[in-house]
Symmetry: C2
Subunit: 245 residues, 2 copies
C-alpha cells in the first residue's frame, strides 16, 4: 500500500531535508518514526529537498508499507513519534502509481524579510533582516522579467549536477505590510538555491544597488556571477515552501 503525506517542519535545527551521514535531517527523523511503526526499513520519497535552515509548510512525501491503519491513526502515530519540529498535516492512501517527486505539478516558495530598524528576535529563524530602504515597486518591475520559461543558469548555485536549467516561473508576488516584505514564487520547479539567488538579486535592485532592467541582462547572461548574492537560509532568513502534488 502506498501512502501520501503532507508535512510541515521547522528547518532551524535540521541539516536540511535529505539524509546525510551523522547529521540530523528531516528524512532521517521520518524514516526512524516509520521504522518504529512498520518494524522494517521504510524509504521515503519527497517532492523536493530543502536546505539547512529552510522550513516547509506543505512538503509532500510518499512511502510504501504493509501496515494497515486508517489515515487518522497514521496521523496520530506519526505525530506522536516525530520530534516537535516536524508535523504530519495530512496522510491518506494513494494509488500505487503516485510519486511525490515525479507527479509534482507546481511548487511555491516564500521568503520573508523584516525591513524595520531592528531584528525581531522572535522571528529570527523565519525572516531575514534588511535595514536599508527597499523600493518594492522596483523589485516588482524586475520580477516581470523572470516570469515565464527561461534558462535560469544565472540563478542556480554553480555546484549543481543538473544539466537542464530551463524552468517556468508562473507567478511572483511581492507583498508589503508594515515594514515586512514577503516574496512568493510559484513555478513548475526551482533549481538549487534559485529562490534565494532571485531574492538576493531582487533585494539589490530594491535597495538601489542595481536597476530593475538589469534583471533582464542577468537572466540572459546565463552566468551565475552576474546575479546577486544568495539570500540567507537561516539565522536569520528562510524560504518556506509549499509543494502542490
Amino acid at each position: 500500500m502506498r501512502l501520501k503525506a503532507v508535512l510541515s517542519y521547522d528547518g532551524t535545527n535540521f541539516s536540511g531535508y535529505q539524509v546525510q551521514p551523522g547529521k540530523r535531517t528531516v528524512q532521517l527523523e521520518i524514516e526512524n518514526a516509520l521504522q518504529t511503526i512498520c518494524k522494517n526499513e521504510t524509504k521515503v520519497i519527497a517532492s523536493g529537498r530543502t536546505d539547512a535552515g529552510v522550513h516547509a509548510m506543505g512538503q509532500v512525501i510518499h512511502f510504501n508499507t504493509k501496515v494497515k491503519m486508517e489515515g487518522w491513526q497514521w496521523l496520530k502515530a506519526l505525530n506522536a513519534l516525530l520530534p516537535e519540529d516536524i508535523q504530519v498535516k495530512e496522510i491518506s492512501e494513494a494509488s500505487e502509481q503516485f510519486h511525490a517527486r515525479y507527479d509534482v505539478v507546481g511548487k511555491e516558495y516564500r521568503y520573508f524579510v523584516n525591513n524595520s530598524e531592528s531584528v525581531d528576535i522572535f522571528r529570527r529563524n523565519v525572516e531575514a533582516h534588511y535595514k536599508d530602504g527597499i523600493n518594492v515597486d522596483a523589485m516588482r518591475d524586475a520580477a516581470e522579467y523572470i516570469i515565464g520559461t527561461h534558462d535560469f543558469t544565472s540563478f542556480c548555485a554553480s555546484n549543481t549536477s543538473v544539466i537542464d536549467k530551463v524552468r517556468t516561473v508562473e507567478k511572483i508576488e511581492i507583498l508589503e505590510n508594515e515594514k515586512r516584505i514577503e516574496f512568493r514564487f510559484v513555478g513548475n520547479g526551482f533549481l538549487y538555491n534559485m529562490v534565494r539567488i532571485l531574492v538576493g538579486t531582487l533585494l539589490e535592485i530594491g535597495s538601489g544597488k542595481r536597476s530593475s532592467d538589469e534583471m533582464n541582462s542577468i537572466l540572459k547572461a546565463c552566468d551565475r556571477t552576474k546575479a546577486g548574492k544568495t539570500a540567507p537560509a537561516h539565522g536569520p532568513g528562510v524560504d518556506l515552501n509549499v509543494f502542490f502534488v
Copy 2:
C-alpha cells in the same frame, strides 16, 4: 554611572532569567557581556524575574559602570556580544537613584493560545495549543472578578516565600482573532506563576469545566488548590512580559 536598558529575549533556550549554578540564564549572558566590556564583574538588577521558557518584550535592567560610552555605542557593543536570543532594545544613562526593581510602576504580561485544530509548529514556543472550544465571553465575565486589589493567594504557586500576596490588577484584555486568543494582564506586580494560574483557570472556564462565577469564590478562598492548573510556560506556551519602569 548608572545605565538603564530595555531587553527582549526568547526564553526558549534559557533556564529563566535569574542566575543559577550551571544553567544558561539571561542574567548570566548579560553579565558575561558586561564583563567583557567593563573588564570587571558587573551585577545587573532586573525589574522582575521570568521562568524557564518565558519570553520578554521589554524587561528593564540597570547596572553601574565606570565605562564611558554613548547610548548607541553601548547598544552596538552589547548586541554584538550577546547571543541571538537576547537583544538590547534601548540603553541610556539613568539617575544614580534609579532602580529597575523598586521603581516599577506597572507590568504587563501576555499569554497566547492557539485554539485551532492543530499545533502551529512555527509558533510552538510562543503559544499554547488548546483544541477544545473556548467561550471567550465566559472568560471575560470571569476576568471582571480579578480586576482590582485582592489577596491573590489562590493564584500564587505554593512554593513561594512571599508573605504579602495582595496585588492590584488594573486591566485584563482577552483578544480573539482567527482561532487565536491573546490574554493581556496589566498590574502593579504579579506573584510567582500568577499569570499562568490565572490563564489556566480562565481556560477551564472558557472550555465549560467551571462557571464564570466560580472565579469569585476561587479568589475569595485564598487557597491555591481551588484554582485551575498552571498554564504551560514552554513547549508549547508562553507569557510575554513588558515592564513599565
